[in-house]
Symmetry: D2
């Protein structure tokens, strides 16, 4: 079966999911719904992506000389599922106005409330929960990274007493010049916990996790400083082995490979020729991984623009029962050119 | 007794200590030693501060039209103590080359190794350790802030099981345009613990503390996300009371006072008319103070440019036995116009 | 006569005008109108400034424990003029809804269209145009700086063929953390000329001026690169003399005083003890002043937060005919502690 | 003939030239000389690039597990030319120590003084000057962009009276986290002209050009605001036509394509799938192109990381007389996937 996919909202996340879908052999990208004619639309067309828009906006596209294949209605009747990548809250509106009335399936992003979907989703942590569901919500970038990290240990049977994670968030995506801060650190939020802890619990309900977050003037990646307390002592060797073999987790050694900052992780991806310089894996700083008795400390970089992309692909497979968990994860990783060497796709 | 003070190194820290010394009635600023004629020297002179320099540099000052009162030798023979605020490592060289040979007393800053001095110093946490000492090292800005915070609880008899602190450091001081990062988060360092934890232990040897740190593109303040685990449950009410009454700790309510970022804390100080917009107190975000059983979470802003200034003043008093601990702290705070309302200067 | 002043809008500009008015002996600050209880209001009260608000907001202030002296109506009936420092466009609304119906005089800021007032105003360039006017608009920070610079030459009888100015704008004021850009240069606007050129012509109608502008990730100051073409050759010596003696223009020598960036100009003001580190003068980079035949090149820093403050004071004097032009300028400068040494207050 | 190429210095510029050389069919990349084992070396190897290093550094590479094919001597004897992309000034040292003694040909970058080579080079502006030369210097990113722009008009027989260009420079490349400024605008330099004007004259000696420059906290691209005064009136239509058809110049319409900042130009390149998101063309802002009588105003973005790459390729062809000017330019553009639609490769 080939799942026919429409994408609603073609911004940071939507355009990446579009490119990813086109690389899959069990999915077909029917088109994307855009509101505004702009350079992102132009480039889409140059890649062979079909644009659809709202009836009252066809005009605008014509005036701008950007070809539109049809209206939203044309698209909708040809797809099996909509991947909704509109801004926070719009997905819920779309569900009420469009997807529910038309009996459409949909996958939402992390900017929506958990209630928008039948389940919140992270491939590594709870793939099976999403099998056959009609509405799935792929959790946000920060939650995805935390869920993968925690999931990696749980899969191996580790007992986690608590997780305390401290998030240093990028202020804006690279092209969002209207957002700040410029020379500031923003309490984001001032209260504890930030929403990320509870959000991880929508994927891994049993975990004791508290998070704090601030926003800083960068566009690169988020950075997490994580403290995990296990039930009993752990060995650094075992921890390392788990992290090395878990898919979608990459170790960067700052000392030996001279990767001393988040921008240098992105530089690595640019040099490698990855599309847009994306890093869809958790970027763990290898030398930060430190064990004191039952406590683990580490830093990880989280590329907000792209980390949820493989999860959206897996969510489609779970929804349509295209593959089992590890088959889907492996397939996604291979086709997206993630690092698969040394990774174990037969975990748990 | 009036202690005669010379300041070696007139940069971010040195110039602030100079202004602070001039406000004290038990100290006299004899002069400052500068290497280079520049606008900072000009302004110093306009405030009535006497400049001294190295013999082979008198020329440069004359050429630049900046009056120099004498050479370093002239200054040294007229002072009781040198407060050394030169860059990291230069203080130790000065000790070996100048202070030790001449039998001079000296106070060093946190950029020096702990070994440079007889004791590391934080007024709240270990004032009495410094009484009568010949060489004292005022710990760095981050260590000062952590020592005050931890000290506040210890003074009240609280038992702390462990402290885990996550530091988001400003990349450079406002005028240091050569330093980055611009659009990046730097692992600073990648390894755990960062030096801050052990540095706190030079002041409070018994504390179990682990710190992690990154550097970000701001010049404003450092930000700490702190997790303290007490021995047994604590009540938020008591915690608040302690923090409210402890000198040099200020609470900023983000919700009610609309202080939502570090820059807004500095804005408050600018509006208040504080010299240079300095915030010499720990700036705790009141709404971040959260208690879960025996765990306390909070955020604090640390104004790197100025937080160690009151400690330098107190270090002088301890060295020369001018005042007892709380008398010194109160006097310093009053004369530097720190917030004293509601503060208890008879603690412990 | 003492002019009774109310200030509407207590943000970046409004709070500075309030402090300035309080330093004048021919003006009295009756109070300021604030919408929201916050730290800025708290600090105002601590300085003895009376807060007024809208009837339906008194509640909020009471709940926040911030004392309000009365409502906007109470204030308005006690003032001779309102200085309106509300955000762009609100001033015009206030004029239509409040000032005109009540027959109140008002001074507006540069965010309003020129049409809001009887004249646009810059003290140096067109003080006399504003004498006795009911509505005056103090032009924006960039326009103020350009008008002073051009005005300086015109006062001395120089003929200017054309001005071409290239503006590198700060993205946000220090406390505005929601505004960007973070890592970007924004075309601000992409079209030529930017609005600044025409805006200068509201003050100096005869000048041929074209401006271009971009916005960058700083909060410090704007920077102008200016090219002035005179009618005939000019001598650098004369140019320098004019700039040195013109009030509200300061020369900073980058080579000899080691002022190599905008942040170091602000550092100079902080060190000097200026309130909030403000620089109300045009900050010309002395070593940038270069003459090639009839062309003058130079760079100037423009402290957007404060440069219009002295102009607002002078605008009051012109409106109420309190002083002649140079008397007002001198008085303002003296009372605001601007640099007056070497300045000539009997120009033209 | 296939020219055998070695690259000395594998940083921002060197690694891009390496990738470009590998795409040419008349050149062969023999290897690159690296000093330090790091992630950039790892990625190079994964692309099939051979690493060489200094004798005394082979060890380091072995320890880091990064395969080195040989020492610098091994490389040098197998190449026809070295493209030197070491930091400013190192190229000149290499010339004296290595290239001259060994009779090697070399191409240098813009960080070297003009005297290092027999000619300074820009493909569009002076390709023919470089034919057969032994040492060629490809001018810097800013000079390249200005030379292309000016060259475009000169090729079409336009007479230029003078060029005045105002440069807003990025503070650092994306991965250079040690460089600032963070929240500042640096006079870069304070004096007029900046070195860029005279540098353009090494390529186009007859042009009257004066430049000013500042550095700002971004890593994206430089931005130029340019004012060109022609000898006599020009028509916007003709200007547009020239810019549209000139290779290596791209027009971005800010209004119709919603490209409102430099980061959005890079975003366009990322979306397009360009390696590293590079923009090797001058990025002209179409809506900024404005003509007033004989004056032209415009803004252009200059991607410092990549703009000189095609010029290095053309410099090789000129040096070895592989192709005539326009043949080389077209070949380079096609193989590097620059935009060639609408471009005229038979100019002049
Ligand atoms: N950017 C990130 O860092 C990130 C990371 C993970 C998850 N997410 C989540 O992904 C979702 C999308 O975020 P984004 O960053 O891609 O946003 P974005 O603003 O980059 O893109 C959203 C796009 O949706 C379009 N849009 C808005 N309303 C629409 C409508 N009614 N119909 C069609 N298109 C519409 C917008 O024009 C825009 O192009 C959000 O839920 C967000 O929380 C974002
Ligand atoms: N800036 C901060 O954030 C901060 C905070 C707390 C502690 N400290 C510590 O304070 C000390 C000073 O730091 P700073 O930030 O003020 O540095 P700074 O660079 O701003 O000032 C140092 C000054 O010392 C001068 N100097 C250098 N060598 C000298 C010599 N041999 N003789 C005389 N003067 C000399 C320099 O010219 C400069 O003016 C360091 O130990 C630093 O770690 C700094
Ligand atoms: N900030 C600058 O760089 C700068 C420089 C020169 C001129 N200006 C101009 O000064 C004016 C004010 O700008 P600002 O930067 O001070 O803005 P701001 O946002 O800092 O302050 C405006 C204040 O007005 C208040 N306000 C909004 N509506 C109000 C109302 N109806 N009644 C009472 N108060 C109200 C806001 O709450 C805010 O406190 C604008 O015209 C602006 O263009 C600003
Ligand atoms: N980065 C830019 O924006 C840019 C743009 C145009 C031109 N340039 C010019 O290109 C040249 C290179 O600049 P870059 O930005 O690529 O620098 P870079 O620092 O990114 O790379 C230089 C590389 O050379 C290596 N190196 C240093 N000394 C060496 C030696 N003796 N032998 C071998 N390798 C050595 C360094 O380790 C580094 O990897 C300079 O002349 C620069 O002015 C740079």
């Amino acid at each position: 079966m080939t799942v026919k996919i429409g994408i609603m909202g073609y911004g940071t996340i939507g355009k990446r999911i579009a490119d990813a879908v086109m690389r899959m052999d069990d999915m077909e990208l029917i088109g994307v719904i855009k509101q505004t004619p702009d350079y992102e639309g132009e480039v889409a067309i140059s890649k062979g992506i079909k644009l659809y828009t709202y009836e009252d906006r066809v005009n605008k596209f014509e005036k701008a000389g950007i070809r539109v294949t049809g209206t939203i209605n044309d698209l909708i009747k040809n797809v099996d599922v909509i991947i909704d990548a509109t801004p926070d809250g719009v997905g819920a509106e779309n569900k009420a106005k469009i997807y529910e009335p038309l009996g459409l399936r949909a996958i939402f992003q992390g900017g929506e409330e958990a209630e928008v979907a039948d389940t919140s989703f992270n491939a590594l942590a709870n793939y099976d929960m999403a099998i056959g569901k009609r509405f799935i919500r792929v959790v946000s970038c920060n939650t995805t990274a935390l869920s993968r990290l925690i999931g990696a240990f749980l899969i191996h049977g580790y007992k986690i007493r608590k997780v305390r994670a401290y998030l240093v968030r990028r202020g804006a995506d690279p092209r969002e010049f209207k957002k700040g801060p410029i020379n500031d650190v923003v309490f984001n939020p001032a209260t504890v916990p930030s929403h990320h802890g509870p959000d991880v619990q929508t994927v891994i309900p049993t975990i004791d996790i508290i998070t704090m977050a601030v926003a800083v003037p960068t566009t690169m990646m988020h950075l997490h400083m994580v403290n995990i307390e296990f039930d009993g002592q752990v060995s650094k060797g075992e921890i390392m082995k788990i992290l090395e073999e878990t898919p979608r987790i990459l170790l960067f050694n700052s000392a030996s490979r001279k990767i001393e900052s988040l921008a240098q992780i992105i530089e690595w991806a640019r040099d490698l020729g990855r599309l847009r310089g994306d890093v869809m894996e958790n970027a763990l700083i290898e030398d930060s991984i430190t064990v004191f008795q039952n406590e683990l400390f580490l830093m990880q970089g989280v590329h907000q623009e792209s980390i949820v992309v493989p999860e959206n692909i897996d969510a489609v497979r779970a929804m349509f029962k295209l593959s089992s968990k590890w088959d889907s994860i492996r397939k996604t990783d291979l086709r997206l050119n993630l690092i698969t060497t040394g990774k174990n796709y037969n975990l748990a």
